[in-house]
Subunit: 155 residues, 2 copies
DNA sequence: CGTGAAAAAAACGCAGG
DNA sequence: CCTGCGTTTTTTTCACG
């Protein structure tokens, strides 16, 4: 199960990651192939699981989320069942847009969106601080977004 | 310039965020509208900037990135020009997939992907530690991804 | 790989409620 | 603002060499 794709596949992946509305024809022109094999390659990339799906990217600001916070959480990890309970509780919070278990001083790192600081404060008090087993919560607000998480580099 | 969208717009946004390949017809059926106004609404949402674009989501694992790291960086921020220089240098690193200036103990938070720990180690030594003005670099590896950053909640 | 062609959908316009 | 209808143009999808 090695990575087995060539330069053209790379071009296709990069182009589609940037704009999924490109047609097979446009992609064919970009890559120098003709339309049919180009379409077949895309099919292959989809079936191989390299392309996970096509999604509209929504604008955080246009949706009214003015606040992005990174939240480090430490818990009392007594047993695995409690950990799973914690993870499920966090995952169920819609404002938590990213959620990883991490090494280091904290146990989990969350990325959270909120309309404003008041909304974030509510979320903190009513959801995050009430999570089962939580010991410490530390918030870091984003003050400047230099790079969103929009794309992966093509190897 | 308030958020001015109704329940149907919310449905459309949620559906397209989940799957951008849905046709106007399918979306019309889902929302109970007919095809024409449905299509018009989508156009409006695009023009209003709520929909930022359509993008293929690539699979990190299928691309061969086994490592995700969160990197906190503190710098000696002597003047603004130096800060901008730093930011540009970081932004130019393809493996840095997310990059925010943050409040708290560190100045910046990065999310980085790498093939494996060796690749991450190289990146750290050859890129991150060599950044202009960097004072401290702290890495937290992701050991479990409970939620990627795949979608925003619809308000 | 390529050319070509049928079937589907997008991208609208328009009349009328 | 919606519906329903129709039209033109693109795009998808696939048979075949």
């Amino acid at each position: 199960m090695q990575n087995e794709f060539d330069e053209i596949d790379r071009q296709l992946l990069a182009a589609l990651q940037d704009n999924a509305r490109l047609t097979s024809g446009e992609l064919a022109e970009m890559t120098g192939l003709s339309q049919s094999p180009c379409w077949r390659r895309i099919r292959r990339l989809e079936e191989a699981g390299l392309i996970d799906g096509y999604h509209a990217r929504l604008s955080r600001r246009a949706l009214g989320y003015g606040v992005v916070a990174f939240v480090s959480i430490s818990i009392d990890l007594q047993n695995e069942a409690r950990s799973i309970e914690f993870a499920e509780a966090v995952r169920a919070i819609p404002q938590v847009v990213m959620f990883h278990g991490v090494t280091g001083t904290a146990d989990f790192l969350l990325m959270v969106v909120a309309k404003d600081l008041d909304a974030y404060s509510d979320l903190l008090q009513h959801s995050l601080h009430r999570l089962p087993g939580v010991r410490q919560v530390q918030t870091s607000f984003s003050v400047q977004e230099f790079k969103g998480f929009n794309e992966l580099p093509i190897p």
